[in-house]
């Protein structure tokens, strides 16, 4: 167990981190992600307010759509990354645990009169169900209510009498979904899903933080505090695609300036031979000059590679560039590779 943003979170369950990762890729992983926060924005002017506050294009979303976005400050630095759900008459915004209070204050402070901002995190539990058989399992307990919903949409469903907001989203590179429901039903729903998996012969296991990290890493998804943070701007992290320059949003003018000048560093993926790269490790050019630092690194169980994400000087960002990463004092061979290492199942 490890303390995480005020929660005690298992790094891994007795299954073990590598096996948990592989189970999620081959069957179903259950993720207890109650630490994630949920902020609701509603009232007259809510649409324009949310659009001006988050980076992504959202006004074209239909009711029930879900979309990834960043929350930027005026310098274009990344305060958080979000999943924004458009629900009938309201916006449901999923935020990271460590940023929940700051995000809530950020929305609240900027909200014009009439717009309501409510933090639902305490009353709402959140479980992610991910993997190639996740929808099959969820269909069995919801009367077939989930597989009919397209990727990046949501629906109100009932799982054995528990009212659930289901989003066909997730952060592992597998299909599946994220479940929002009343916190007092958490244990009941968790055990019900494990039991149904067992009964139907659908391998279903609890997945800890370590495998959650390796799954999202392989699939090329950022983790706040690593690939993105309040010290990293959206462009150098490669998130132009999550910023809608056709609209006005917080951070836009700063990003336009950065764009014009060209980012000073870029996020790249590297593969390493001869060691495990980790956060904080230094990168050097083949000539030995310091050129950047790893922000996350690990063994990737599906692709069976040692890999890292790192910020490097732009001239070293091209795929195929040979670098060195300093592991325990020794420079080891590394090469810049295309991200993601694992193409998400729903994009293939």
């Amino acid at each position: 167990m490890a303390p995480f943003a005020g929660y005690d979170m298992p790094i891994s369950y007795p299954t073990g981190a590598v096996e948990e990762h592989l189970i999620t890729r081959r069957s179903v992983g259950l993720f207890d992600i109650d630490h994630m926060g949920q902020i609701e924005v509603s009232g007259p002017g809510a649409n324009e307010f949310v659009s001006a506050t988050v980076s992504a294009k959202i006004l074209d979303m239909k009711d029930r759509d879900a979309r990834y976005s960043l929350l930027l400050d005026e310098q274009g630095l990344v305060l958080d990354d979000l999943f924004v759900y458009r629900l009938p008459g309201r916006w449901w915004i999923v935020v990271n645990a460590s940023n929940r209070e700051a995000d809530y204050a950020w929305f609240k402070r900027r909200a014009p009169a009439g717009v309501k901002v409510v933090d639902h995190s305490e009353a709402t539990y959140m479980i992610a169900v991910q993997g190639p058989r996740a929808l099959e399992l969820l269909d069995l307990v919801s009367g077939g209510a989930v597989s009919v919903l397209p990727r990046f949409t949501s629906g109100d469903i009932s799982i054995r009498g528990i009212p659930v907001l289901f989003g066909r989203t997730g952060y592992t590179g597998e299909d599946g979904g994220e479940l929002f429901f009343p916190a007092e039903r958490a244990l009941e729903l968790w055990e019900l899903l494990l039991a149904e998996g067992e009964r139907r012969g659908i391998e279903t296991k609890a997945i800890g933080l370590a495998a959650r990290d390796s799954l999202r890493f392989e699939a090329g998804m950022p983790l706040h505090g690593h690939e993105i943070s309040p010290a990293i701007n959206a462009l150098e992290a490669g998130f132009k695609w999550a910023c809608d320059f056709e609209k006005d949003f917080v951070g836009r003018s700063a990003l336009e300036k950065i764009q014009a000048e060209g980012p000073r560093r870029r996020l790249v993926g590297i593969e390493v031979t001869g060691g495990v790269p980790r956060e904080g490790y230094e990168l050097r050019s083949e000539a030995g000059a310091p050129i950047g630092q790893c922000v996350a690194g690990m063994f990737c169980p599906t692709v069976r590679k040692y890999a890292a994400n790192a910020f490097v000087l732009p001239e070293f960002a091209k795929a195929g560039t040979r670098l060195k990463v300093v592991i325990h004092g020794n420079p080891k061979d590394a090469v810049v590779v295309k991200r993601p290492l694992y193409v998400p199942a729903y994009r293939r």
Partner: protein, 127 residues
């Protein structure tokens, strides 16, 4: 926790087991269990001369890197090449297929300073 009764141990959890004139070393079952899934191991070159307590390699689990220490002084005679492709052997069979190095001890008297199985079991049990 399983203990190899024929081995002796360092408090840093490496074991040493006599095989003829050689010593076989790896990490204990207790150590592999505490580390969790092992994903990489770096081992010395054959022929390397190392003193007791000197680092002979590094073992990396999912979350952390740990140095490995020589239980006795000696010259490396063999390393377990199978660990490069399958470091999880250390988790599965730490005293058998998960062995790490074999070496020719330089000072046999150092053996007597290591913990025997009963003393190590007591030591590991405190953690």
């Amino acid at each position: 926790m399983t203990i190899d009764k024929n081995a002796r141990y360092r408090t840093s959890h490496e074991y040493a087991r006599r095989e003829g004139a050689s010593i076989v070393t790896g990490i204990s079952d207790h150590a592999q269990d505490s580390l969790g899934d092992i994903v990489f191991v770096e081992l010395p070159a054959v022929g390397k001369v190392l003193k007791q307590g000197e680092a002979f390699g590094v073992v990396e689990s999912v979350k952390a890197a740990s140095d490995l220490y020589m239980p006795l002084s000696g010259t490396i005679t063999e390393v377990n090449a199978a660990l490069q492709g399958d470091p999880a052997l250390i988790n599965k069979d730490p005293y058998g297929a998960g062995w790490m190095i074999k070496f020719a001890p330089a000072n046999a008297a150092e053996w007597d300073g290591l913990l025997d199985a009963a003393a190590y079991e007591k030591e590991a049990g405190k953690e």
